[in-house]
Amino acid sequence: MPQITYIGRRLISLIPVLIGISIISFLLVKLSPGDPIRLLLGPRATDEAVAAVRLAYGLDEPAWRQYFVYIGNVLEGDLGRSIRYRLPVSELIVQFLPRTLFLIGYVMAITIPATLALAVIAARTQDRLADQAIRLFTVLGMSVPVFWLAVLLGRYFGAELGWFPVSGWGEGFTGHLHHLFLPAVSTSLWLIPLLVRNLRGALIEQMESDYVVACRAKGLPEGIIFRRHILRNSVLPTLHLLGIMVAFLIGGSVVVEIVYAVPGLGALMVGSVIGRDYYVVQGLTLAYAVGTVLVTLTVDLLTAAIDPRTGR
């Protein structure tokens, strides 16, 4: 079973990546200027108090021992404490995470059907009017700064027409849907073009491939050839891109969360960077990376499930 071996190999390959991620997030605090403990304890802390905490965190040990202390703490779920919120970082992440997840899910729910529809139309009307129009939309969509679009959409649909709220994330499921509509749409308007371009290319490549000619020679109707053969073969490369895009999206949600004052992980990240809340930055970076690794892992396993050639 080459696929089982593939999954095994894929899981083993996570080990060096996870180690690397932990080293980089460790270095983020290690290399930051200033004494994080002083920041943590505030300006009025005595030298003795600082020394005591340094000892507790093992900060006077050599770097490699500090790293192992850090790893030990992370594995126990201890990511340090926030200076600004006076809370454990892990608790903060758990508190802010649902809003970002909701936003990402929302974006996906808009993006995936829209991408499929636009790419299929573009590929089937290749180089004709509909395709040209879609191409114009994708080119424009890619060159628009997301935060700018978010500000303008907020001004028009929020302030001027009053259709949608422009800050916060609301109460209850429908409240979330209502509040996060503009953030989700602004993000989608940037993400859809990237995916449409990719899927259109894949579709056209598949439409011109030999097995499609063979299907025609068998006398299969065009609709069946498209659904049963072309679409399935084109999804593979786009699935891969979607994985990369979700990772991009995790980062991309940062700006819209700021523009629309959505209290999510992105807003927390930026606030912590500006407020020099190092342990939060460290913990968040680690969490983001682990999240991304899980997403790409899922995509790879899905691909393996669809494509019998995986692992060859």
Partner: protein, 544 residues
Amino acid sequence: MKPLVEIDSLAVDFTTPDGVVNAVRGVGFKVEPGEILGIVGESGSGKSVSCRALLGLLPRHARVGGRIVYDGRELSTLTPAELAAVRGRQVSMIFQNPSSHLDPLMTIGEQVAEPMKFHFGLDRRAARRRALELLEVVRIQDAGTRMNAYPHELSGGMKQRVLIACALACEPRLLLADEPTTALDVTVQAGILRLLRTLNRERGLSMILVSHDLGVVAEVCDRVVVMRGGEVVEQGTVTDVVRQPRNAYTRELIDSQPGRLEMSSGRHARPAPLLEVKGLRVRFARRGGTVAFGGDKTQGIDALADVSLDVHAGETFGIVGESGSGKSTLARAVLGLVDTSAGSIRYDGRALAGLDKSERARFRRDVQMVFQSPYDSLNPRMRVLDAIAEPIWRHRLADPGEAGERAAELMDMVELSPALARRKPRQLSGGQCQRVAIARALALSPRLLIADEVTSALDVTIQAQVLRLLARLKEMRDLTIIYISHDLAVVRRFCNRVAVLKQGRLMEVGYTRTVFESPSSEYTRELIASAPDLDALRGGAVPA
């Protein structure tokens, strides 16, 4: 009898960025029920285009004119739905490259069953049952299990059999076979051709067989259409066309067949060994097994196992074998392009492993190679003259200016017009590219030239020219040539001695005449029997 297909003044134009190209003009032929019609021609002759036009399978930017009548019906008047009802049901098709013509994500059973669902309205189970029968008809062993296999799990020959099963599924009356065996090994080809003939005999299936290989057409077809440059130059029964060609081009085509080439294999070789290969073994790591995660290094495939042979100074030594035989690996091992696991290679009495730096440089000048693909073997960004001159000045045999002059002389020697000197490979034909590659290999005045399938990508008339050129250069520059090929007929005409390889092992080695007339291994016998032969005309012997 009413013809099954009648094509009249067929014309096909392609709109390209460089304007309109007439691919086919005024083509007309008929197929009678139950006959096999061959269409033969070189690349660009329009043979495949004509065949595809029949089923309306050309790309969107093609324009088709003329009359195509199938069974009394004019195909151009059909709606797309009516045309779909003809495709697969009345007329079906198989293709040159079986791998790319199967959907990689669908099991082969499903792909064979598919057309029956649409044309006959069979349900899934009935269609699968029929598919299993069909896979048995095309002689796929263990068809029950293979039903659930994906295309990548089958060999090339098996995939072609699957495509044939797809094509037979709805019992069509006409099968279009577009170069069905070109991508396959000669022994596999023989099997597929046998199958096609059986289908024709037992089911009365009419066929159009498109091929560049006159030998294949001669073995299988009743009548033949010869095409060139988009036009039909001659047609008639195979026997008439081969024995009494009326057209000059047909005659050239026949004379260029390797079996008919007039060629001396050169002076008798001096029996002094120039290259000695002893117990050579080359092992490749298994694909996918990465060294990183404790991949077992002992796991691997022997590309070559225990191969020993000598190449004598001044001879033309042939190496024949099918794909995976290790013939190219042997050449690459001699040149140090792959690492060897065991055995020794001695050149001019010295072991290659023990050469010092200056001896190595000397060996690099002495032994040169010409590769298989005309375009891939030249740097696409270098002009022809620069590519030929580069080795001369890099080896400090001349300054760049003088190297250019010598390169021009070499171009002249390989019969390339000086007008081509400033062109890039993309602007040349395949045959011209191979001449450039030969000139580049000769730039360092080598003693041993290794030619690896140098003509297999070329048309047969061009192949004949390149072979004549090699023979002339060999005399002129006193070369020793190792000629690697899958084509027995070429090797037979061209080489003094020959080695036969199969799956990395040496089957036999000896004088060409001995090997061909009384082969000592069973495999060599099979190989010789499988090779299509122009003189083995269907239906009877040929006068001497």
